[in-house]
Symmetry: C2
Subunit: 888 residues, 2 copies
Amino acid sequence: MSPSKYVYDFSEGNATMKPLLGGKGANLAEMTGLGIPVPPGFIVTTAACVYYSANGKYPDGLTEEIEAHLRALEKLTGKTLGDPAKPLLLSIRSGAVFSMPGMMDTVLNLGLNDETVEGLAKGTGNARFAYDSYRRFISMFGDVVMGVDPQAFEDALTAKKAEAGAALDTDLSADDLRDLTVRFKKILNERAGEQFPADPLKQLHMSVVAVFKSWDNHRAKVYRRTQGIPDDLGTAVNVQTMVFGNKGETSGTGVAFTRDPSTGENFFYGEFLMNAQGEDVVAGVRHPRPLEELRGVMPEALEELYAIRSTLEKHYRDMQDLEFTIEDTTLYMLQTRNGKRTAQAALRTAAEMVTEGLITKEEALLRVDPLQLDQLLHPRLDPKATYQVLATGLGASPGAAVGQAVFDADEAEERGSRGEAVILVRWETNPDDIHGLIQAQGVITSHGGMTSHAAVVARGMGKPCIAGAQDLKIDTEAKRFAVGDVIVNDGDWISMDGASGRVILGQAGLIPAAIDENVGTVLGWADSVRRLGVRTNADTPDDARKAREFGAEGIGLCRTEHMFMQEDRLPHVRNMIMAADTAERELHLAKLLPFQREDFDGIFRAMSGLPVTIRLLDPPLHEFLPNYTEVMVELERLRLTGASADAVAAQEKLTATVKSLAEANPMLGTRGCRLGIQWPEIYAMQVRAIVEAAADVLADTGEKPHVEIMIPLVGFEEELKRMRALTVETADAVLAERGVAIDYTVGTMIEVPRAALTADEIARQADFFSFGTNDLTQMTLGFSRDDAEGKFLTHYLRTDLLKSNPFEKLDQAGVGQLVAMAVQKGRSVKPQLKTGICGEHGGEPTSVKFCHRTGLNYVSCSPYRVPLARLAAAQAVLEEKASAKTGD
Amino acid sequence: MSPSKYVYDFSEGNATMKPLLGGKGANLAEMTGLGIPVPPGFIVTTAACVYYSANGKYPDGLTEEIEAHLRALEKLTGKTLGDPAKPLLLSIRSGAVFSMPGMMDTVLNLGLNDETVEGLAKGTGNARFAYDSYRRFISMFGDVVMGVDPQAFEDALTAKKAEAGAALDTDLSADDLRDLTVRFKKILNERAGEQFPADPLKQLHMSVVAVFKSWDNHRAKVYRRTQGIPDDLGTAVNVQTMVFGNKGETSGTGVAFTRDPSTGENFFYGEFLMNAQGEDVVAGVRHPRPLEELRGVMPEALEELYAIRSTLEKHYRDMQDLEFTIEDTTLYMLQTRNGKRTAQAALRTAAEMVTEGLITKEEALLRVDPLQLDQLLHPRLDPKATYQVLATGLGASPGAAVGQAVFDADEAEERGSRGEAVILVRWETNPDDIHGLIQAQGVITSHGGMTSHAAVVARGMGKPCIAGAQDLKIDTEAKRFAVGDVIVNDGDWISMDGASGRVILGQAGLIPAAIDENVGTVLGWADSVRRLGVRTNADTPDDARKAREFGAEGIGLCRTEHMFMQEDRLPHVRNMIMAADTAERELHLAKLLPFQREDFDGIFRAMSGLPVTIRLLDPPLHEFLPNYTEVMVELERLRLTGASADAVAAQEKLTATVKSLAEANPMLGTRGCRLGIQWPEIYAMQVRAIVEAAADVLADTGEKPHVEIMIPLVGFEEELKRMRALTVETADAVLAERGVAIDYTVGTMIEVPRAALTADEIARQADFFSFGTNDLTQMTLGFSRDDAEGKFLTHYLRTDLLKSNPFEKLDQAGVGQLVAMAVQKGRSVKPQLKTGICGEHGGEPTSVKFCHRTGLNYVSCSPYRVPLARLAAAQAVLEEKASAKTGD
């Protein structure tokens, strides 16, 4: 194979060649090889696109190669590009390595001009069809290749329909359509500032270049960023003989999934439209019909589709997303690919395919995107609540959401990124709306079907979607919709259930989800594969119980500050802080002791038999006091409004305390073990409460709690040495008082960069390390989360400076390097050192996999992320095996 | 030599055995070897002390070893411990590896009891001497070994003197002193709660243990911390035959320096007291006489001292600090060690010893402590100013200081550590005052001489000291002193000149010091040895010029924010910040441009021919606005006091802006390049101003400034890539406009841990790295400097959790690890990458040496630290050579 080969015939490729041929092209080649009817064609490779991106021109020889393959195609089909007698017509479609539905550009019916259109009309005996194809080609070419706003063509079409008194496009006559082609060309020539190219070969090369360029358009970039697809892969271009679903009532087009992409049910799920081209179905412009209805229209085609469905599922061993066209009763397949699916569908499909013997358990585990599990565990509508259902559309992507209605993707992005809950309401969505979808809680459209753009994208993102809610009369200009008498304005609260398709007025009550059978099955397999432990971050017995239901194997982080914040404790906490000396402080701490003991008692019982890591007090003390600005303003108010001297004096005392504790950068101030070192009595009280609670639980239940005491914010070995000594002294004193023996360990959070850098020293004092990657990220990157998100970090993400939010996805190059270093250094002095992660990253799949690769013992995450972590941990094992095999 | 050898006779050791024998013991052994008269004795090693510290008991065999050496000593001297006929008397002195003057304990006259004292009286025919020695022994033993407050003995002595009508101790008769021994024993037995041990062997072992324990006393620990002496070295114990300077008028004692420790002049400098023991001189209780006066009293002894001075200086090749005693006209040397000296003396001695051929230039460079240079460059009294001199004492340690008088070491420590300028005024000082001296600007005593404790310690620390200012009548209780009619109360301002000994009322004017001849000589040698470049941190032409005088080879950090803060610019800066959009912001930036250009113009001229690194704007924008709490309080005030609606509205607008920019942790917020990335127009203005100024200077002087533009707070390669592109685009545009070519480089601060961790990526975009170790320390340790110092960091230092302040001395284990990693990674992709440090550590000797070892190209420090850095950089080279030789 010559290194300069940039073009492959479908018959030359196969499904393994995706990196070079793109997903669509490789699968068209594969189907061709399987003997499935595919219109013939060839593929311009991704390598050509990469060259074009870098150099702004074709690589040497590409023009000739394309034209040689064109000649071969002409020979095969007996038609010739530009031949008025037997014109060859082509479709030009992008095809990237990873599916990017609707993100890039397509040109259909290429090869038409004023002469070939006549030849097409004669050859088919269908002038209406010929001119319909021609007007479609001009507008697509104008939009995609020449950059003309497609609305101009839409407006001309609408005007023509009005003139002709036509209700639907299909009501237009051949003459109407011929006239429309003239108008379209005029629009194109005027708007583009250059002439529509009549030369079909010129059309072809211009279209190939347009597809190359579409790789770098804004919406494609945004999509790639959200999906983590690299920017340097390029897209292939598929040049394929046109087949026509719009040739009349014996022609049609459709899309199908080999199983239900919403529920996973093993049911042939699809939609079709007669006398239409494929874009009509996907764009949701007309309402498509369920696939089964094809039986009444063209039963043989349906039977053939069923056979192809079976062939493809067995061949690909995964649920497929198909596109087909019927031209004059002959079925052609235009695409197959692995179908996007909801979490529920992913799990059901995976589990059932194992039962069917189609795939192994390991393959099933790799089929499910861990992030999707998250949506399964998201709240759903409270079935016991009552609410006003405004309308019911198609349940296109399950899940419940509550948000304020917004009618514009930009606004959805802006408000959503500020943390506001919004639901995007649109007539239909198109790829330009993607940034709004990302930031919305869910999306509702009044048009389009289950396979419309909004539905496909929402399912991919695990967001609720209701499509085709036709009762919603949307006025985009006025930013409102009406359902009968009810008007919902921009900013009004609505709720939605993406499973049942119900659109609800106001804020509906939501309840937590539970794990269903398929989830349980797949997670059971995950547990048998994974090595990484999965714990939870829980501060209350309720959270602990919930997490245990979800499979948590212990508590990796129990924060004690939330306990201090509760209403009945806060006065004691404040008195403790404002104490004049140690003796007074101990007095107030003694009042807090019973509360703390009770907290731990409940948690130990909920986690019976499993380890519980309790972090001693971490936040700066001023967090328990009122805000400095507020107390100063209040003081000014008291002074100016003639308050009593006593009131002013009391406020002055409070102000003085608040001021003395105020910090310029509290994140880097007196917190964590710095509290325990200066006021050991605080930590001593907490340790006493922990160990007394453990002794109580032992006495009551006969079971010993597994106690792990964690010292936060250690940066120097000596800090941990002192706090460890205090902990051991206090704990052993309690155990001696109670006359019981309970094992406990003492470890530390690794959250200060220095702790990671000197982990070999710190490990000498630690039974375990728990990586606090939230703070470690803040300090390693110099990003205060409070000040970054919504400010410079948002700017960085929007302008592509960062690919992902480092507070969500662990920054492996920076923070991850410190984690790996700390594990290695820690184990160099203490080989059995237990290590875990308790930052939010413990519930994010790429970060969980990093933790596995780095050799941590466990991850700890919020209760609802536990299933996700279990699955990701299993996938990490399987990916490791796979890369060991391929030697990656 | 058996591994269990814990005791060495003086004749067995030499000066190279300091780690084992301690400094004093090793030098006594060395002098013994040189044939200099040293009272015979033996040394219990530091290894025995280390064992004792760890185990709380003697190592096996030590008791027997000590007693065997004792027998040998008895044989040598013909006297026996405890023998009433010919009693052997011993001195027991500590002797650590590094000199810790007065920090640890000493017991003299050991071996006396009610029987041996009679023998001593008979043997010497001097009952008065015998009982004087006995009462001294009881009180010292009581204090040092049995923990009795020495004031109790002082009070008894005072009472006795009153009863006897004696003015001086020497006026007391033998009977008076005998009576005093009875009283002293009674005091000891009562206060210690156990009996004074009459058994001299028991006295000996108890004293050895007391010296061991004194290694871990509080003042010794504090001293070690300030001097950077490790805690695990232990002290040796010197057991030596007593010689008596208090045997009458043909006996005496003294201390001497082979050169003047204050000025370095080659002059035999010392003091003596007749009929006294050594402690009397050091403690400053009696006023000693200048050494030269010994010629009139005992000329032979003085001649012998001169000969010994010469022998020892040649032998040790350094200025020596000597202790001697004359017993009945016979001279004995009790100690020699390298003498502590002022910076001025260190430099003069080093330079002159090179001229004298005594040492090499390299040795001279290693003789001067770089930290001492700092004091040389500290301000001195303005000779043109007039001031009221209250009194003149001994100029015991040079330098000028201004501060509030304080009369208590604890108070000096407390106020000094808060950053207040205080001068400690004491009758005399003792080792317990060390913590107060550390935090004071200087110290004045009304008693004691040039070799008193205060003087020695102050010279070591480079702090001004005036000793023996007898006109000051100090009332410690009332916290004030009087000089004639003038009363100076606690907190009143005074000034002092430690060179001339003048005590001045009020705040005297100070002027900067300049570099003198000896400094210039030694620094010239340093420059010829060092490889590390030395630059300065300077924001103004004045600072730049001063630093250049001190030898700076360029500017390593020119901060631009100080320029923004100036009164004539701040309104434009505020308008710029509050601008509604980019266009308006650019309008205000255009007004700032001429100011910035002018700033850079002056700096380029001052640094003509040398590189200038300019850091673009770094601090968060809210630093240029009023404080949030203040604007809120003002708003409340305006509202409550019925201000006009306009005034309230204006304040509300300001409040809103301040609030929108307020940050929870500004250190980790929108600052550094995060400003330039979000508002590129700010950095573009600065780059334009820099390059326009460079072009102006070139046009005017014909010399091209060496411009280095530095982007702060980079953590990700992409940040620097974008800011570099902006810089290059702007700079090249200006150069094109001006039609000139000026080279410039673009680099970055490494101050975010992630930048160090990913330095191989960042180096791709950088011409240089400058380590901002202030911020790097803050983030790596999680220490906000504002919130740490005076709060938890002070606590850490006081409680020995940290040995040094990481903002002063680079934390090599943590922060240094990142620096080394960044240099290595950066050079792995760009071998010629220029690297420097511009944090405050660039002016701290151990940190400068670290920078040399790590391979940095330069350090940059404040102008006054430039000489220090030059010397430390040379020492780093010499130390590297030495360790290469020894294979360390």
